[in-house]
């Protein structure tokens, strides 16, 4: 099996290049069919790899060739599949397959159809390379390639200025994250003289904990950039400018989770420094809470879901921060399905409402789009964490993990975020599908999407509902033992005492988390359910029953400045604009270019030339034309030369 690994990323790459080069001459259907077939191929191979990993702990590796042989900085191009990668492969390829099928319907008739179906498989190729990487450079290659594809896909409607701005913003903000990631890689190479994961992890003891903390934090900045954590999440909401299937695939299921996957892959490093873990947890919690609060005030259906994604990513980061590694991956697994479904559902709604995205112009779409409504509802329930749905189990496990890690304050914040996640999602459901129809009938005739779009919705609805079973019973379900080898560090006998102590302490920490008392489980079950149902009820009362106590407008006035703060995304965009972008433009325009370059450097150069010319003109006047003056010059020259010579060199003056 290990020598077929290269096919997984290769198939989408081939499809992408063929579509890109010959796309104009191929019929739309052909390009779509080719792309989907290649993803299906990769999916099948991923299943095979998953099967292989099911019954063996040995990771599959395949060496392709040496990418950069620069002395110690030796970068081989290897593909590496272990349990963690197997899961990620499954998630990526499955969701991509569904999105490909869905896009054929959604993008039908678009002039850039072939271009869409070349960028999408290219994205899948990049994501697969990222997941399959076994050293920092290849993961970084995948990292940037994914950023590029998101740039291309967000800016798909290149005629729109807003789309272009959003694409550029996404790429540059990702690059800010990449700056941290690349600096981390450099630090790692400097400290470990290698960039291959296995070699680095083997030499962990040689390095002090502080360095590990710095490395972990740098890697986290990379993850924050990619997985839209607090300071760098501003690009994700704007990324909604791209076509909805793109949002579904990239900004829900795969790319954004890359950061979390990378942190998971860096388990040995991150787990070794508790300070880094705390920072990650803190950032995760705050992001979850903030994003949740913003989502409450949004009216564009895709932006609500976008902020929900940011919030859930905050959940996963918090999970990693508190050491609930498996919970993070479990939530990632479930989240991919129901968030993908939410986006595709909203896509189908938008498709039906002729590109209308504002929820205030929707309402009562239940009767027009029954399948979309039901699948959207299931996904919403899962997102909110209703008891039986997949989202409940993974989210709950995170909260338990948080509590066990004694991060009580943060866990309470997470409870708030959980409550928000249920409130905003049901608000969206009720505003779009329930209540009175707020669109004017002559122009807009909502209709159910064609079967090519509804079938994928149903396909995704199944895991959105049932994916939770994977993690039952909590704390030691199937996924826990499957991922167990990925998240524990082999014992190294002869390491120095201090190093072992650190890992000892880290070790119990993990064990203790396993057998949690059933009482605690039940109480957390109850608490989550209360929050979820509470959110549903409030949303129902506010938007369907129009109960005066819960009138959204009333709450908005009462909240006043807080509401504006939330609605304007904590003014983060404006802050960045004013604090970083404008001053940078101003400095480089007025100071660096105009003054330093033109005034100072060019000034001096031209100044030298001018003084030479000026002195030349002055000296030239010395030539008066008078013979007497010429003789005078000779005489003066003679007097000076003789005078100085006699003074200095002769014996006259001793």
């Amino acid at each position: 099996m290990s020598d077929l690994l290269f096919l997984i990323p290769l198939l989408p790459l081939l499809a992408a290049t063929i579509n890109f080069v010959f796309g104009r001459r191929m019929a739309d259907a052909q390009t779509a069919w080719l792309a989907t077939a290649s993803i299906a191929g990769s999916f099948a191979l991923s299943l095979a790899a998953f099967g292989n990993q099911l019954d063996s702990d040995e990771p599959l590796t395949q060496h392709l060739y040496d990418w950069i042989p620069a002395g110690l900085f030796h970068v081989p191009l290897n593909l590496y599949v272990d349990h963690l990668t197997a899961i990620m492969l499954l998630v990526v390829t499955s969701v991509s397959l569904v999105v490909h099928i869905y896009s054929q319907g959604y993008m039908a008739g678009d002039p850039g159809f072939y271009r869409f179906f070349s960028f999408l498989p290219l994205f899948v190729f990049s994501m697969l390379m990222l997941v399959l990487a076994d050293n920092f450079l290849v993961i970084f290659f995948g990292w940037e390639a994914v950023g590029l594809c998101s740039y291309l896909l967000i800016g798909f409607y290149f005629k729109r200025h807003s789309a272009n701005q959003a694409a550029k913003k996404a790429f540059i903000v990702n690059r800010v994250g990449d700056f941290g990631f690349a600096t981390g890689i450099m630090l790692i190479f400097w400290k470990f003289d290698s960039v291959v994961f296995s070699e680095v992890f083997a030499r962990l003891e040689l390095v002090s904990v502080d360095t590990l903390t710095i490395i972990a934090l740098l890697l986290f900045t990379g993850a924050a950039g990619k997985s839209a954590q607090l300071p760098l999440f501003v690009w994700l909401p704007d990324a909604m400018e791209g076509p909805t299937p793109v949002s579904a695939l990239i900004h829900a299921a795969t790319m954004v989770t890359a950061g979390i996957y990378m942190l998971a892959r860096m388990y040995p490093i991150v787990s070794a420094s508790s300070d880094a873990m705390f920072v990650i947890a803190l950032v995760g919690a705050i992001t979850a809470f903030m994003a949740g609060s913003i989502a409450l005030t949004q009216f564009d259906i895709k932006r609500v879901i976008a902020y929900s994604t940011v919030s859930h990513l905050g959940f996963m980061a918090f999970a990693i921060g508190v050491g609930a590694w498996v919970a993070a991956i479990f939530h990632l697994f479930t989240h991919a399905f129901f968030k993908g479904l939410l986006f595709l559902g909203s896509g189908s709604v938008i498709h039906g409402m002729h590109e209308e995205q504002d929820m205030r112009k929707m309402g009562g779409l239940r009767k027009y789009m029954p399948t979309t409504y039901w699948t959207f509802a299931i996904a919403a329930a899962s997102n909110a964490g209703i008891i039986v749905f997949a989202g409940f189990f993974s989210k709950d496990e995170i909260l338990v993990g948080g509590w066990l890690d004694h991060q009580y304050a943060l866990t309470i914040i997470m409870f708030g975020a959980a409550f928000f996640s249920s409130l905003y999602i049901f608000r969206a459901v009720f505003m779009t599908f329930w209540g009175e129809e707020r669109f004017d009938p002559e122009h807009v005739h909502p209709h159910e999407s064609p079967r090519i779009m509804t079938v994928p919705l149903i396909l995704l609805a199944i895991p959105a509902f049932a994916a939770g079973v994977v993690g039952l019973p909590p704390e030691d379900g199937w996924i826990h033992d499957f991922l167990e080898p990925a998240f524990h560090v082999e014992e190294h006998a002869e390491e120095t005492a201090s190093a072992i102590a650190i890992f000892q302490e880290g070790e119990e920490h993990a064990e203790e988390g396993h057998h949690v008392s059933t009482a605690m489980t039940i109480t957390f079950f109850a608490l989550s359910t209360v929050l979820a149902i509470g959110g549903l009820a409030i949303a129902y009362l506010a938007y369907v029953a129009k109960h005066p106590a819960f009138d959204p407008r009333a709450w908005a006035e009462r909240a006043g400045p807080v509401y504006d703060l939330l609605y304007n995304k904590y003014y983060l965009d404006e802050i960045y604009e004013r604090l970083i972008i404008h001053p940078l433009y101003w400095i480089s325009e007025n100071i660096l270019w105009k003054i330093v370059d033109i005034e100072i450097i060019d000034g001096t150069v031209n100044g030298v030339a001018a003084t030479v010319n000026y002195s030349s003109n002055q000296l030239r006047r010395v030539q008066t034309g008078f013979v007497a003056n010429y003789a005078l010059a000779i005489a003066i020259g003679a007097v000076i030369v003789i005078g100085i010579a006699l003074a200095l060199q002769s014996d006259l003056l001793g």
Binding site: W67, F73, E144, Q165, M186, L592
Partner: protein, 527 residues
């Protein structure tokens, strides 16, 4: 094969072409173009032949030629090639060939144009092959005049100022180098060795620290002007903006590499101790150059000036890598030089293509090219991505290695250097998007556009040249996509960028032994 003086044949093939053209004044423009292309192809094929039969593991110089010339002053005609010069020579012959083929837009005095181009090529190749300081200096100055002519005669608006500034700037630097050469010549004699100007013999001697410092400084200033490093860079934007497209391609593609090559060949091997002491200061200068170049490129209204400042930033990586004084740094520097050759060469060709159609270089005058020129946009896009250092393309390999090298010697250098990753993306993306995507001036906005910018309508100067192209209903000139020649010149560069990005091993293998020998005095050769 090795008894043939292959190196001299490569060097003087273009000169042969130039002489043939010079002495046939009555020939028409077309045949003179054929002759020039012939000479270019000959030089390129010979250089490939040399590259093929180049022995990777041989650490010393290969294909050496030695003819006694001025014995009294220790000057003899020494040619030789090693890892780094072989790679750079092939780059030179390739770009020169591409330049000659792409010179379709030159209208007046084509014969003299080709003569200067071929003379320039000879000068460039000679610099890489020369092992004798005297011979090196001769070829170094030989390049000056043809390049100044290229800028001065076939340039655009105030070309004379740019040509004169370029000439005097480089001349001043090289004159200081001359004093350096003479100083090291006499020091070598005073230490009791036979009078010689051969680089290898001079490198073998251990000089006093003060002399090393002054000789290092003399060479450094000459090469810093050529690289160009931060305080000496102001001639580059003027020269590029005024030079004809091909002049810019060669200027950026090869002339800037002379500085880098010189720093490696002379400053590192002749005066190692001074190099080691002064490395941090030079790294500070390169970092300023990198950040400064990127920042100023951010606000350039003119495409060519933007690319020029971007090459100031890229060449900052070269000096950063060199003076990191370790394996990764030097590898990085060499690959940045190689990739900068294709990438910036290609970018200038792209700017030239658009300039031929719109006769302006102002970014604000363009927009929505992708719908009219898709192939062009794709190639331009790949080059742009290589320029901002996307992994998988050649730019990244070089820059990352240089930064890793810099990080290993000085932490702060690596970190500050890494900032350019953000800035490069910023200015390149901004330019690319403003030129290729967006709407052409005059095109109606997309109904679903959430942010309707005040696209600066149809800027007047774009339209007055539009008599030559058909105009669609919105008054947008329908520029044709790349013609056969333009494609034939840009495509190879793009392919090379991808190849070097994905599979840099063969190129790195070429340089390995040479870089190891260079790093011996610094004790970090194997690392």
């Amino acid at each position: 094969m090795d008894n043939l003086p292959i190196l001299s044949m490569i060097t003087y093939a273009p000169l042969l072409g130039a002489l043939v053209l010079f002495f046939t004044p009555r020939v028409d423009a077309a045949t003179s173009r054929q002759v020039a292309i012939g000479a270019g192809v000959l030089a390129f094929i010979l250089s490939l032949a040399m590259l093929v039969s180049f022995d990777v593991n041989e650490s010393g110089m290969q294909f050496t030629e030695h003819i006694e010339w001025l014995p009294d002053v220790g000057v003899n005609y020494d040619f030789g090639v090693d890892g780094i010069s072989a790679v750079l020579v092939v780059l030179t012959t390739l770009l020169a060939l591409v330049g000659i083929i792409a010179s379709t837009s030159i209208t007046h005095r084509r014969r003299e144009y080709y003569i200067s181009l071929l003379l320039l090529e000879t000068g460039m190749i000679g610099v890489f092959f020369a092992l004798d300081l005297f011979l090196f200096y001769i070829f170094w100055e030989l390049m000056l005049v043809p390049m100044a002519l290229l800028i001065g005669v076939w340039g655009s608006a105030n070309r004379v100022y740019a040509a004169v500034k370029f000439f005097l700037y480089t001349l001043f630097g090289s004159l200081l180098m001359l004093v350096g050469i003479v100083a090291i010549y006499w020091e070598n004699i005073n230490l009791g060795n036979a009078p010689t100007l051969n680089i290898l013999d001079l490198a073998a001697v251990q000089y006093s620290d003060t002399l090393q410092f002054w000789v290092f400084l003399a060479f450094f200033i000459a090469f810093a002007i050529k690289v160009p490093m931060w305080p000496f860079h102001t001639w580059l934007p003027d020269a590029h903006v005024e030079a004809p497209t091909i002049g810019s391609v060669l200027l950026a593609g090869v002339l800037l590499k002379m500085g880098g090559y010189g720093l490696i060949r002379f400053n590192l091997s002749l005066t190692p101790d001074a190099a080691e002491d002064l490395a941090p200061y030079i790294m500070v200068l390169s970092l300023i150059g990198i950040i400064y170049g990127a920042l100023v490129a951010l606000v350039q209204p003119d495409m060519k000036k933007l690319v020029a400042y971007s090459s100031v930033s890229h060449m900052g990586f070269v000096t950063l890598g060199i003076f990191a004084l370790n394996m990764q740094g030097l590898y990085g520097a060499m690959i940045v030089m190689l990739s900068h050759g294709f990438v910036t060469g290609g970018l200038f060709l792209c700017v030239g293509v658009v300039y031929e159609r719109a006769h302006t270089r102002l970014i604000s005058a363009f927009g929505g090219i992708v719908s009219r020129m898709p192939v062009y946009s794709v190639l331009f896009g790949v080059l742009m991505l290589a320029s901002l250092g996307l992994p998988g393309l050649s730019g990244f390999v070089g820059e990352f290695l240089a930064l890793v090298g810099a990080f290993n010697s000085y932490r702060w250098a690596g970190v500050i250097g890494m900032f350019v990753v953000i800035l490069a993306a910023w200015y390149m993306m901004w330019m690319f998007q403003r030129v290729v995507f967006e709407r052409a001036p005059g095109e109606p906005p997309d109904p679903h556009d959430n942010a309707l910018p005040a696209v600066s309508g149809a800027s007047a100067d774009v339209h007055d040249h539009d008599d030559e192209w058909p105009v669609d209903e919105h008054g947008v000139p329908q520029w044709p996509d790349l013609n056969r020649i333009e494609l034939a010149t840009i495509l190879p560069l793009v392919l090379l960028t991808i190849v070097v990005g994905v599979w840099p091993e063969p190129f790195m293998e070429l340089m390995r032994t040479t870089l190891e020998t260079i790093l011996i005095p610094f004790g970090s050769q194997g690392v």
